[in-house]
């Protein structure tokens, strides 16, 4: 079954998921009932999204089939996959990082321009 997985090393801490989530049910941005929270460690050195949601989004923002937070995530740190799909995405990221340092900061599935494994 698909659910929302987090790739923590890609999270840039923008809090878009957290801010938008609560609005989907109540229309209120940044309310306390968001199903996702980004924990920021002091020194800004780590951003950790914590999810309490089964991924069945009350109001998907597009027709991608995934929840709104996954659609909106700028870096690709949130993915909506089954267990095997999630493992495959992690492998894809690791391989891309071997090939290009760009993928320290953005997921290959979010990067629109050509690149190749060397």
């Amino acid at each position: 079954m698909k659910r929302i997985y987090v790739i923590e090393s890609l999270c840039n801490g923008c809090r878009l998921c957290e801010t938008f989530c609560s609005s989907l049910a109540s229309g209120v941005f940044g309310a306390a009932d968001s199903r996702i929270r980004v924990i920021k460690l002091p020194g800004e050195e780590q951003d950790i999204p914590l999810i309490d949601c089964d991924g069945r989004c009350v109001r998907p923002i597009d027709d991608s089939g995934g929840p709104t937070c996954v659609s909106l995530c700028p870096t690709g740190a949130l993915i909506y996959e089954g267990q095997e799909g999630a493992a495959a995405k992690r492998l894809e990221l690791a391989a891309a990082r071997q090939a290009h340092s760009l993928f320290k900061v953005v997921a290959p599935w979010k990067w629109p321009l050509p690149w190749r494994l060397t």
């Binding site: 809090r15 801010t19 609560s22 306390a32 700028p74 900061v105």
Partner: protein, 657 residues
């Protein structure tokens, strides 16, 4: 179960008045009509500044007021966490700057949209603002234990003290405490704003920091319309769908790639802009690629930004500077600590700019003043004796000396005391013609974008009410002209020939182009949002921003009225400077750009025959006097600023009809 959230709307905005002399605070509501007339953030700050800081106010005295402003879209996924910081600059002009991060949304969540700080504390204090829904609004707390701490130390100390991971801060470093020229205000460790001396003013007030914590949620007036408008904004800005070639580049590599794209175009200021090109291998060493390869540890973003990695954190792993951490390597640093002083050591560059952040210095001030000193040294106007033993040569052979110099500037020690003045004031001390090596306008140092190949930039830095500031009109070119037809332009009320506007070294249309850019960016910064996100057609077609504003606030403003708010802000800024005595003669490029051709490229100097017609076109298009640059009475009346005209009359300032 989650706690119930107090909810606020975006129609009315509140202001917290803080008097540091009295030790008092007072929360007020601003007139609702202001949200339609001035939007918010930079627009409301311009109004407040004009109203509360009269002509002749001592910038470093108790009567100057320091404003922090959010806006109706802050705290929503559009505001990008921007705040406007404004006061009267210690140089006499408007001082205003935008700062990103997470502070603005936290202010809105605390129910405080603006903070106005006047007076002077008798000992260092910090302001702690808590959610207005919980009763206690704000208190001033002792900050004697924080005074003298660097920005990163202040952040850590306050975090320990308040023991709340979500509290947000803005603070100053030792440079601002010591009233060093151009010191900005910092936050989230690597974000800063208000480089025209807002930090200096905060230091003069004895205010070390502001801490804010809020819990309120924000409701928009029309949720469906807001989400629809947001989708359009995302389409213009997402990597895969933006029709702007720079979107993927800026949002991942960041602007340091300009270091290697600029030299071939004659655009990279090298050795204090004596040259406008640089050795390609040197440029490549400080560009984004080696930075990303060897130093970046993770992506960072401001609040809700749709771009993945405009900011990044970095760490130097080993070697002489092993363990040095920092963030936000952007367009400024490769110029001011790279080509400008002819340094191709990326680690030295990261350390110099990181130390500026830690000590609370403005990198443009330090870089341009250092480059000025190096050119003085080359001409024998400064010696190693003057420079406390430092060999001040371009090429930066004495790296340790430069690293030691940064704290000395912040503390005004020895030779650092001269550089702490900024190049315009330091040149007055050194004299002997050293003024022509100072690349500054209205006493404030330049930034990274060249003038003699991009005339709109030359005009923009000359007329800017805050001194050189590219965020007033960024980016320095219109969008791809094929994305918008002349008919659509006319429909949007933009009087511009895009074909001519695009020609960098053609003076024609530059006044009109700058006028439109200044108005449109004023609007974006008043919502607020980030001017770096003026991508695709978002800088010409403001309808996506307009729809977001309407949906968020519920104000049924028509498009022309919305655009007029930007022009109103531009006129308030100009009026503030007019009241302080600034006129057309003050709107000038730096001496070097006006008197020297670009070597090797054939780009001529900005001689009067090229520069003056652009000024004429700009003033005329604005409805300002071509002889004095004072807004005409007709223009002020058209914008509903009759009170400004009345004040001019009362002060004996002659505005044309």
């Amino acid at each position: 179960m989650a706690a119930a959230t107090t909810v606020r709307d975006n129609r009315t905005q509140t202001i917290l008045w803080v008097d540091l002399s009295e030790g008092s605070t007072r929360l007020e509501t601003l007139p609702e009509a202001w949200t339609a007339k001035y939007l918010g953030s930079r627009g409301v700050n311009a109004r407040l500044l004009f109203d509360h800081v009269p002509a002749g106010t001592d910038p470093l005295g108790p009567d100057n007021v320091l404003f922090f402003g959010t806006g109706p879209l802050d705290g929503l996924p559009v505001g990008m966490g921007r705040i406007s910081i404004a006061c009267k600059s210690p140089r006499g002009t408007v001082a205003e700057g935008s700062c990103g991060g997470f502070f603005g949304p936290e202010m809105r969540r605390a129910g405080v949209d603006y903070i106005a700080i006047r007076g002077q504390a008798d000992h260092p204090v910090y302001l702690y603002i808590q959610d207005s829904a919980s009763g206690e609004v704000a208190e001033l707390r002792d900050a004697r234990h924080l005074w003298g701490l660097k920005t990163d130390e202040t952040d850590a100390a306050l975090r320990r003290e308040l023991a709340d991971p979500d509290v947000q801060f803005r603070y100053i470093g030792p440079a601002a405490e010591n009233l060093v020229h151009a010191s900005p205000i910092f936050g989230n460790l690597h974000n800063s704003g208000g480089r025209a001396g807002c930090g200096q003013v905060m230091g003069s007030k004895g205010l070390k920091a502001i801490a804010v914590r809020g819990t309120q949620g924000i409701r928009v007036a029309d949720y469906d319309a807001f989400v629809d408008a947001y989708k359009v904004l995302r389409q213009r800005l997402d990597l895969a769908t933006s029709r702007d070639m720079w979107t993927p580049v800026w949002s991942t590599y960041g602007a340091p790639v300009l270091a290697r794209l600029f030299p071939d175009l004659g655009n990279l200021m090298t050795r204090n802009a004596q040259q406008m090109t640089w050795d390609y291998d040197k440029a490549m060493r400080i560009s984004s690629e080696p930075y990303l390869d060897s130093y970046v540890t993770k992506a960072k973003a401001c609040y809700c930004c749709p771009w993945p990695a405009c900011q990044k954190l970095h760490k130097i792993d080993s070697g002489k500077y092993g363990g040095f951490k920092g963030g936000n390597y952007w367009a400024a640093q490769p110029v001011v600590f790279g080509s400008l002083i002819d340094n191709d050591d990326l680690e030295l560059l990261l350390v110099l700019s990181g130390l500026c952040n830690q000590y609370g210095l403005d990198v443009f001030h330090v870089g341009y003043t250092l480059a000025w000193a190096m050119e003085c040294f080359e001409h024998g106007l400064l010696t190693t004796t003057d420079a406390d033993g430092l060999e001040l040569r371009f090429g930066c052979t004495d790296k340790d000396g430069l690293v030691d110099l940064i704290p000395k500037i912040a503390r005004r020690e020895g030779f650092g005391g001269l550089l702490a003045l900024g190049c315009a004031e330091a040149a007055k001390v050194v004299g002997q013609g050293s003024e022509r090596f100072c690349l500054a306008v209205k006493g404030q140092e330049l930034e990274g974008i060249p003038q003699r190949n991009l005339y709109m930039v030359a005009l923009g830095i000359a007329v800017s009410e805050v001194g050189p500031d590219h965020t007033r009109w960024y980016p320095p070119y219109p969008c791809n002209p094929s994305l918008i037809s002349p008919e659509e332009l006319a429909e949007l009320g933009i009087d511009l020939d895009l074909r001519l506007a695009f020609q960098g070294r053609n003076p024609e249309q530059k006044g009109k182009l700058l006028r439109w850019f200044t108005i449109s960016r004023a609007i974006v910064e008043s919502l607020p949002s980030c001017v770096f996100l003026v991508r695709d057609t978002l800088g010409l077609d403001l309808r996506p921003w307009w729809k977001l504003f309407r949906a968020a606030t519920g104000f049924d403003l028509d498009y022309r009225e919305f655009v007029a708010a930007g022009e109103r802000l531009m006129n308030l800024d100009r009026a503030f400077n007019v009241r302080e005595g600034y006129r057309r003669a003050d709107d000038r490029p730096p001496v070097r750009m006006a008197t020297e051709d670009v070597p090797g490229f054939g780009y001529p100097r900005l001689a009067p025959e090229r520069f003056e017609p652009m000024l004429d076109e700009y003033y005329e298009a604005n409805g300002w006097s071509v002889t004095t640059s004072i807004p005409t009475r007709r223009k002020l009346a058209e914008l509903g600023l009759d009170d400004v005209a009345a004040e001019f009359a009362a002060l004996g300032i002659e505005a044309e009809p």
